[in-house]
Structure formats: C-alpha cells, structure tokens
C-alpha cells in the first residue's frame, strides 16, 4: 500500500529496478511451474515429440495446461484440428484476462501491448491485477520482468525435461500436480478485499465443480468463471440506468 505514494507524487521508478522487481514477483511461479515444465518435456517425448519440437511448443504457446492436453491428444493420434481446438478450449479463459487487463496496459505503446498479451498467463494476469490493486500503475518494465522470469525457465526446463525425462524421480511424491492449485489459492486469497469476493468465489466454485462432473474439462473453467463474473456484474450497485453509457 505504501507504494501508492510513489506513483501519486509522479516520480516513476527506474525501469531497471522495476524489471527486477517484476522478476522477483515471478520467482514463486518458477518454483511452482518448474516440475510441471520438466514433466511436460518428458511426457512430450513419450508422446512422440522431438526435443526441438518440445522447446518450440513451449516457446510458441507458453501455456502449460493447454500444452499438456496437446501432447496427450497428439499421442492418442487424434486429428490435428481437434488437438488445436482442444488447445483453444483450454486457453479460452484468457479472453476474460485480456478483457480485464486491457485497462491496465492501455497506456503502453502498441508493440509493448502486443508483447504483453503474448505472455498473459494465469499468474501474469493475477499479479498484474494485484499490482494495480496496490495502487501502482502497471509498467512495462515490471510486467516484462515478471514475464521473462516465467517464460525463460518454462522454455528451458521443458527442453531439459525432454532430454533428461527418464531421470525425473517420482513426480507424484514431489507434489508436482498440486503445486499450481496451491499457488492459485494464494493469489485468489490476495483478492479477498474486493467487492463481492465471497459470493463470486462461491458461485464459480459451485458451477465449475458441477460443470467438471457434467460437461467435463476444460469447459468447466469457462463455465465456472462466467458464473462468477455474471454474478459480480449483477450484484454491483450501478448508478441510475440511462444516465451515461
């Protein structure tokens, strides 16, 4: 909260230190995502990818869950267009991120925005919203620092996983599959001061769980998110209709 004073008196911090502040924000995500990146590389090779293809996929898509789904379906010899459609379905939630974060990035030059949206992962979105919530202007240097801190290890470690996949010890014992939910819970909790946080969480939890049981993954994410977002819009008191649009 104290940081809001810095922005309000107009003195903008040096880009280099902002970049490193962003890198530090990315570090827990690197810890949480590393085992996942190594695992992705190892599984991709198991599913018929070359090491080069693993690195290319991580660099071009940069979306863990969708990449996992992609290699899994590819390994099952599903038609390529269906694999692509599934990647799209898994990543569909990002539409909400870009709609929401647009307000924070609008003051950047276009090329910076183009880069910014490329690295708009779950943690990138959540941390940028946190940054804005703490009264700071979301700066490109900070955002790029965090993006690079997550992107570079993601690409490198999936390559390492592809090369040394066989050497990975028991991934389950290391908690690999559950580290990201823990991290996401932490970010979720940090938004708890927001208006209607609890009803939104309750609605999204209920609908995503029901959708997970009925329509199945990955659409449960979009369905659950939509429920919370619609409820948030509905609960919010809005000034008289028709005054201004």
């Amino acid at each position: 909260m104290s940081a809001s004073i810095v922005t309000e008196n107009g003195a903008s911090p040096a880009p280099v230190s902002e970049f490193w502040r962003g890198v530090r924000v990315g570090l827990p995500i690197v810890v949480a995502a590393s085992p996942f990146a190594l695992l992705f590389g190892a599984l991709a090779v198991d599913n018929g990818f070359t090491v080069g293809e693993v690195i290319f996929m991580s660099a071009a898509i940069f979306g863990g869950a969708s990449q996992m789904v992609g290699i899994e379906l590819f390994g099952q010899h599903i038609a390529p267009w269906l694999v692509v459609l599934s990647i799209f379905a898994v990543n569909f939630r990002h539409v909400l991120y870009s709609a929401t974060i647009g307000r924070r990035l609008a003051h950047w030059p276009l090329w910076q925005q183009a880069v910014g949206y490329f690295v708009l992962t779950d943690p990138q979105f959540a941390e940028a919203e946190r940054e804005a919530e703490q009264g700071r202007r979301v700066g490109f240097a900070w955002y790029a620092g965090m993006g690079a801190a997550v992107y570079v290890p993601w690409v490198v470690e999936s390559g390492i996983g592809a090369v040394f996949g066989r050497l990975i010890p028991d991934a389950h014992a290391l908690g690999v599959d559950f580290l990201l939910p823990i991290y996401f819970l932490g970010v979720l909790m940090s938004f708890r001061a927001r208006a209607f946080w609890l009803p939104v969480v309750a609605a999204s939890a209920l609908v995503s769980v029901v959708a997970y049981k009925t329509i199945g993954s990955p659409w449960h994410v979009s369905a659950g998110a939509l429920a919370g977002v619609v409820l948030g819009a509905f609960l919010s008191p809005v000034p008289e209709e028709g005054t201004r649009r």
Partner: protein
C-alpha cells in the same frame, strides 16, 4: 513440415487470439458500462476459483490438508510464505499418504 509443427503453430495462433481477443473486443467501445466494469472486477476471483475448486474434487486428504493449511497461512502472510508452506505440507504428507 510435421504434424507437430503445424499443431504448434495453429495452437500458438489460437492461444494468442484468446490472450488478446478480450481486449480487442472491449477496446472497440468508447465507454465501458459500469456493469461490464463490475464484471471485469470479478474476473480474478472467478477464474482463479475454477483453477482451484475442481482440483480439490479429485484430490485426497494430503492435498486437502495442504490447501487448508496454505489457506490459513495466506490470511496472515505473503504469497511466497503461503506457497512454500503449502508445498512443504503437501510433500511431507505425500510421503506416507498416497
């Protein structure tokens, strides 16, 4: 070029479309209606919940205990402490509870 190459290229294109699409649609409007604004403010809580809740459904006691401990820690301390505590509890419990 191989199937993998084209799947990756197409997958990257559709992914980028989702990452910029919401902004491209919204930026066409001069003014954002307050209800839309309220909806956007609910996005972080809504989406993050959907990434946690279903994972709880398929989890077991080790994961539940870890997430409850992490949740309690998050009330008092920062994200990194919370995350490391949750991970430590999870890894410790998994050594003897599936």
């Amino acid at each position: 070029m191989s199937d993998v190459f084209w799947i990756t290229v197409a997958g990257a294109v559709v992914t980028y479309l989702t990452r910029i699409g919401g902004h491209l649609v919204l930026s066409r409007f001069e003014r954002v209606h307050p209800r839309v604004e309220a909806a956007l403010n609910a996005v972080p809580a809504a989406v993050l919940t959907t990434l946690v809740a279903p994972a709880m459904l398929t989890a077991g006691p080790a994961e539940w205990i870890a997430i409850v401990v992490a949740g309690i820690v998050s009330l008092r301390s920062g994200l990194l402490t919370m995350f490391l505590t949750g991970a430590a509890v999870l890894i410790a419990l998994r050594q003897f509870m599936g």
